[in-house]
Amino acid sequence: MKNKEPLELYIHIPFCKRKCNYCDFLSFSGKEYCVWNYLDALIRDLTRYGGQTVSSVYIGGGTPSCVPLGFYDKLFSCIRENYFLLPDAEITLEANPGTLTAAKAVEYKRAGINRLSLGLQSAVDSELQTLGRIHTFEDFLKSYEIARKAGITNINVDLMMGIPGQTEESLKTSLSRIALLHPEHISAYMLIVEEGTPFADMYKQDPKAFPDEETVSRMYETTIAFLEKKGYSQYEISNFARNGMVCKHNVGYWKRVPYLGIGLGAASLIDETRYRVTTDLLSYMKELSFESEEKLTIKDMKNETIMLGLRLKEGISYTELKDAFGEGFAGYTVARLGKYVEKGYMEHDYDRFFFNVKGFLVSNSILSELME
């Protein structure tokens, strides 16, 4: 898993204080006792794949901010020893209000972390409670201040649409409260009820507890319009940024830049092969093994280029498709995209095709039709 070009580095921290009601990510609470063993495993793997140039680092979870002081000092000295970090590298850490302390923020800054992603989800406490979050909006404000004071100049705030009990009004409240803080970046996600989560049971018992499809669709439209007005441009289905402060690391995923994933269950894309590390914590800490390894075919690459590229507001272009897959495929695809322009789901600017809001809302249906 060595790459000559610069790659993106993802590190997974699977620990949480408490698992949220909607969460189906690879994370668990009550295993904090093995945090340090886990760090050893991360260092083991980072060392193994060292020697590469890294353009961005993203530490995701779980709750990366819940691990004790000293964790990231160690982690980053290992990264810096083994990798060449580009000078302008974007280094993000996901932090949850309620677990972030001033001391930790200082450590992050010292380690070189220059972007924090704060999982707020809602600025209404009752909604936070429904979600099973451990913090209040007040807690979030404190965390936000701590981050700023520590000198973090690039902050993302996560927001959720479709929470049980949420209304268009309460969503606007959340949006206004967040906008007042002027974070550089906002991610606004429509809730997905995932199988096996407490929300899935809740949905089975009482689907009416959740805002219906029509309401969530309007929430989405409202959010886009509201954020545009406040100076946040949408650059992906769920992502908005001020002054071009997009998340470079995530944009890399959508543009199919190679990435190296370190840690439990982490995925990598190296040499058009997708790997996934085992999801068994004990076995992972013992030795590195992979749950899957899939060499992508040309068809896979085409499908990924379309499905990922069209997540971006800028969409995909004839020229890009032609350079990657040749004139035939580019022409064929563009002709099909043209139909969605006619039907009002897409727009185009010269040879570039992209979804409008209506199209984003039904993008799965359209993307599935576009699959090879």
Partner: protein, 604 residues
């Protein structure tokens, strides 16, 4: 052992209502007569199709010859001719009965007489068979053998006091049945010197032997040198092999004299040449008359069968061809549908027959099928004085050309415990039944007589009957004839396009209700599209019902980062595959299941 001593032969069948234990008793008889050890017995030897065993009913008549050493020290040949167990196969039953001298009537000691017990019993009496009642399932806690015996004497009017009380399941008192067969069922008559008359009561196709015909020799004698002639079809052939039926296998022999039951193979390639009920005679010395009772069986129910994958059309044709070899009552001819492509219009004896063929095609031939709503044959009298038989709604002429139409009616007998008489009468009324009368069989049970339009019972009448009587009603019917009727063709329009595969012919009074239900059903079955889809039911240009599949508003994956890509890609590819399997009507994709959903409309 010689075949010639008529006095030592017993040809008999077992008749029973479904589930009263016919096949189990047949197994026991075969077991006790000693040709098979218990270990060799596969459960229910006679029902040899997987499907038959699963459904617990007999579809094809099966025959077996066993030898029984009776208490009088003599050995007797038992030819047990098993009969199909469903009203759809009535004619086959009647031919099987004609091959016997007696019938063992199995009655469940708990349930007593049911509609089919009666129907089969009357049929056996019509064929002058000696009826030997047997009370089965005496091991059940709810068994009341004395009550059931009294019932048999009252209702059927035959002596039943000394009927063996048995449990076929436990093998209890089976000896009594065997001795009863020897004592009560007459030996066959018939003169081996007379010109040959042999009744065909079944035929099967064997890939190695070709067509195998099952016969009961009534007069004369078949030898290997006989040149046979089918009296109805006129087909003539030289015999390749003759023989008798061992359990699960054929045993060749040299001659089949009058009174015996056996099989003939000749170089026959087509089962159609050997119609059940036809008489086999000697071409060199033909009989003057065929045996009575032959009739050509005609399908009563038709439907379109289409391969889910259009490329499988040749496979479907081959499969139907093969099935027809074993089942002369199955008919098919090619047809095309705008919605479903190339397929076949198939004719069946009844809905069960249809379901069985459908299941066999899917299981034995691995085909994925889409079937259209079943239809009966309507007679359409046109203004120009001609009459047309229509089984496919798509062929219905323009209403202006129709003078009047007729639909087939059946006489139905429904036996039900008195507490359910009300719900069952209501059901029959809903299905346009004409009430003929009711007889009390005893205090708690009644026999309802109705005339019902066939097209009302081919959908889900059995299911409705079962659910509304908690399973206590039983049902039997006979085609009565054609009756003038106000019928209309109901079309279903999806996104303003008529879907030919969903059209059907229905009585004017049921049209609105049926149309409304189909629209509701289709609404549930058709997935949301990017646009709104109106679903309409129409008679001619008049829309009588409408539903709408709302446009898809939201179908989006909010999060898709490095770890989600593989899963997400597979999801989209699967979604695409799912769409491929749907039928495209205009720009609407309709799942296969939607075409089937119109068949089941009785859910309240």
């Amino acid at each position: 052992m010689a075949l010639t001593d008529q006095s030592k032969i017993r040809n008999f069948c077992i008749i029973a209502h479904i589930d009263h234990g016919k096949s189990t008793l047949a197994d026991r008889i075969i077991e006790k007569t000693g040709l098979l050890t218990s270990r060799e017995m596969q459960e229910q030897v006679l029902d040899n199709m997987d499907l038959e065993r699963e459904r617990g009913i007999t579809i094809k008549a099966q025959t077996v010859r066993t030898i029984y050493k009776a208490k009088d020290g003599q050995e007797y040949i038992f030819n047990l001719i098993d009969t199909p167990g469903h009203v759809d196969f009535n004619y086959e039953v009647s031919r099987s009965l004609a091959a016997c001298e007696g019938a063992v009537l199995v009655v469940d000691a708990a349930q007593g007489i049911e509609a089919q017990t009666l129907a089969n019993c009357y049929m056996a009496i019509d064929h002058d068979l000696e009826i030997m009642p047997v009370i089965n399932k005496i091991d059940l806690p709810s068994a009341e053998p004395e009550r059931v015996i009294a019932e048999i004497e009252d209702v059927i009017g035959i002596e039943a006091q000394d009927a063996p009380r048995i449990s076929a399941k436990l093998g209890l008192n089976i000896e009594d049945v065997l001795e009863g067969i020897v004592a009560k069922i007459p030996a066959p008559k018939g003169d081996r010197e007379k010109p040959l008359q042999a009744l065909i009561f079944d035929s099967v196709y064997d890939p190695y032997k070709g067509v195998i015909i099952f016969v009961r020799v009534k007069e004369g004698c078949i030898t290997k040198d006989t040149r046979i002639r089918m009296m109805a079809t006129g087909c003539e052939e030289d015999i390749v092999e003759i023989g008798t039926f061992g359990p699960g296998k054929f045993i060749p022999c040299d001659e089949l004299p009058a009174g015996t039951v056996g099989y003939i193979t000749a170089s026959l390639k087509n089962v159609k040449d050997t119609r059940v009920g036809d008489t086999v005679t000697d071409a060199r010395r033909p009989a003057a008359e065929p045996l009575p009772g032959y009739k050509k069986v005609n399908p009563m129910v038709y439907c379109g069968m289409y391969p889910a994958d259009g490329a499988k059309y040749p496979d479907l044709r081959d499969a139907l061809e093969k099935l027809q070899l074993n089942d002369a009552s199955l008919q098919y001819e090619p047809e095309t549908s705008i919605a479903l492509g190339f397929g076949f219009r198939c004719g069946f004896l009844g809905l069960l027959h249809l379901e069985i063929i459908e299941e066999r095609l899917e299981r034995e031939y691995n085909l994925d099928l889409v079937t259209t709503a079943p239809s009966v044959i309507y007679k359409i009298y046109k203004t120009d004085g001609t009459c047309e038989d229509i089984s496919n709604p798509a062929n219905m002429p323009d209403p202006t050309e129709i003078a009047h139409m007729e639909e087939p009616f059946v006489s139905a007998e429904i036996m039900v415990t008195t507490e359910f008489v009300g719900p069952i009468m209501k059901l029959c009324q809903e299905r346009r039944g004409v009430y003929l009368g009711m007889e009390y069989m005893e205090q708690t049970r009644a026999l309802l007589k109705y005339e019902l339009p066939l097209n009302e019972i081919i959908y889900d009448f059995f299911d409705a009957l079962k659910s509304r009587s908690k399973g206590y009603a039983s049902f039997d019917y006979d085609l009565k004839g054609y009756v003038p009727s106000r019928l209309v063709k109901l079309d279903i329009l999806i996104n303003h396009e008529e879907v030919d595969a969903l059209s059907f012919i229905v009585h004017e009074d049921s049209a609105y209700e049926r149309g409304r239900r189909i629209c509701e059903r289709m609404k549930d079955e058709i997935p949301r599209h990017l646009f709104e889809i109106p679903i309409q039911a129409a008679i001619g240009n008049k829309i009588i019902a409408r539903e709408t599949v709302k446009a898809m508003r939201k179908d989006v994956l909010a999060k898709c980062y490095g770890g989600d890509i593989t899963r997400k890609k597979k999801l989209l590819e699967k979604q695409k595959e799912g769409k491929k399997r749907m039928r495209q009507i205009g720009n609407v994709e309709i799942p296969q299941a939607a075409f089937m959903s119109v068949l089941k409309l009785d859910e309240e």
